[in-house]
Symmetry: C2
Subunit: 244 residues, 2 copies
DNA sequence: TAGTGGTCTAGACCACCTC
DNA sequence: AGGTGGTCTAGACCACTAT
């Protein structure tokens, strides 16, 4: 069976196929963790050659959207960076083992989106948003203070759930309860003197240097889903990057 | 003409071809900025199909080693990240324009490699290394303090050159004077209270929070060429990263 | 054993750049 | 006009996985 691509036919075929495949994921026809059709099936469904299918899939693999396993199939990658702060912060037990932090939502309220949040979420300032205040702890010690904003319309289901049922990982929780899967994120880091509120939550002196991270999380359709700001002691910060 | 690959024949053909091509660059037969042979020439020289050549070149492009230009050819990419601190530090004039820093080498000495330097350079501790002390300035204001270590053997030519001839960019200088081209680097970031020496160079109070970066720079053959540590005021730090 | 992705081939035609 | 990389095809055979 052949298939007519709806996209701009000036684009290369493998690009348009990539967009078609990505749309199947964005619109939840292929779900995170599941296998997509085999290469042979894609060939006959879309009426292109195996090389073109492979190139389109290659792109999505390079983008981190798909994952291939020889002999098993090609799967929609489940983004698992709720623990992404491990990129920046290193928490260790006294014996040196890495530790998984606990997440505790302290407060939930519906507010009008502040300008910066609205810009990050690509909505109009003042739109209703859900604001969560959350701390991440290890051995009961608060190490990160988080402020999270979500568009109210899309996430209103979260308003009916007791705060105690919000687990340690929010992104799988969004997926389960709201059907919004997070595919990627962007983060901006700066070093700031800590503000009064965060200082209290982190039990540190006001004005201590903290790393502040602002994050926008995107769905598979590239639309912003969540905006958050979190901070933690600069002395826990450690980061590694490759340059080319 | 066919060609026998010296590498492990358990590896895929395109992998071995990639290694062959990379070796041509590492051993300076193909120089940064120059075009490599055309795809057709590579096909006949190595006796593989065009698809295999393209896949090998694809890899090196993805690694940032080569750069393709339709209609012109494929070129060895000239790594140009001597200004890599712009990834982490934001320096602006009073009118908000970005500014290019000046580099000034203050001191040069031959010392025995400290343990950490030796480890980074993959040499035995105590081997002779050249140690440079350098500041980066904007409008005569010191903003970054750098300490640079180079293996003495490979870089001994630098010992005969007046410090004033070390330009603002060291990597092109290494390439020109020593024939060592830098291809990639790794950096490790932490936040530290500034030490006495750096505090003096940066004209800030001892103990102020600075971002400290440790960098190993590698040649095209993946061998470490340079180890450096630099630091700058944490308040100038700003970083952006994408997560998938 | 059947099915999956991984590797490799051997072309054809196109778009773009340089001269 | 001639040469470059970019796209696309239509297979073959292999290595690995599940059952």
């Amino acid at each position: 069976m052949t298939f007519t691509f709806s996209n701009d036919d000036r684009l290369p075929l493998y690009q348009r196929l990539r967009d078609e495949l990505a749309a199947n994921i964005a619109e939840n026809r292929w779900r995170p963790g599941e296998a997509i059709p085999t290469e042979a099936e894609l060939v006959s469904h879309y009426g292109v050659s195996i090389g073109t299918v492979r190139k389109a899939v290659d792109k999505l693999v390079a983008e981190g959207v798909l994952e291939r396993f020889q002999g098993r199939g090609t799967f929609v990658r489940r983004a698992s960076f709720d623990n992404a702060m491990f990129r920046f912060f290193r928490f260790q037990s006294e014996t040196g083992e890495p530790l998984a932090p606990e997440g505790r939502v302290l407060n939930r309220e519906v507010v009008e989106a502040p300008a910066q949040v609205a810009q990050g979420l690509n909505i109009t300032a003042g739109s209703p948003v859900i604001h969560l205040t959350r701390v991440r702890l290890i051995n009961q010690r608060p190490l990160l203070s988080e402020s999270i904003w979500l568009p109210k319309e899309k996430f209103s289901a979260l308003l009916d759930i007791p705060l105690s049922e919000f687990g340690n990982l929010l992104y799988p929780f969004y997926e389960e309860r709201v059907g919004c899967a997070v595919a990627s994120a962007q983060e901006y880091l700066t070093v700031e003197p800590v503000g009064a509120k965060d200082a209290e939550l982190l039990q540190i002196a006001e004005g201590t240097a903290v790393i502040t991270v602002e994050r926008v999380a995107f769905g598979y359709d590239q639309q912003p889903l969540e905006w958050r700001r979190y901070c933690g002691l600069a002395s826990h910060f450690r980061y590694h990057v490759e340059i080319r």
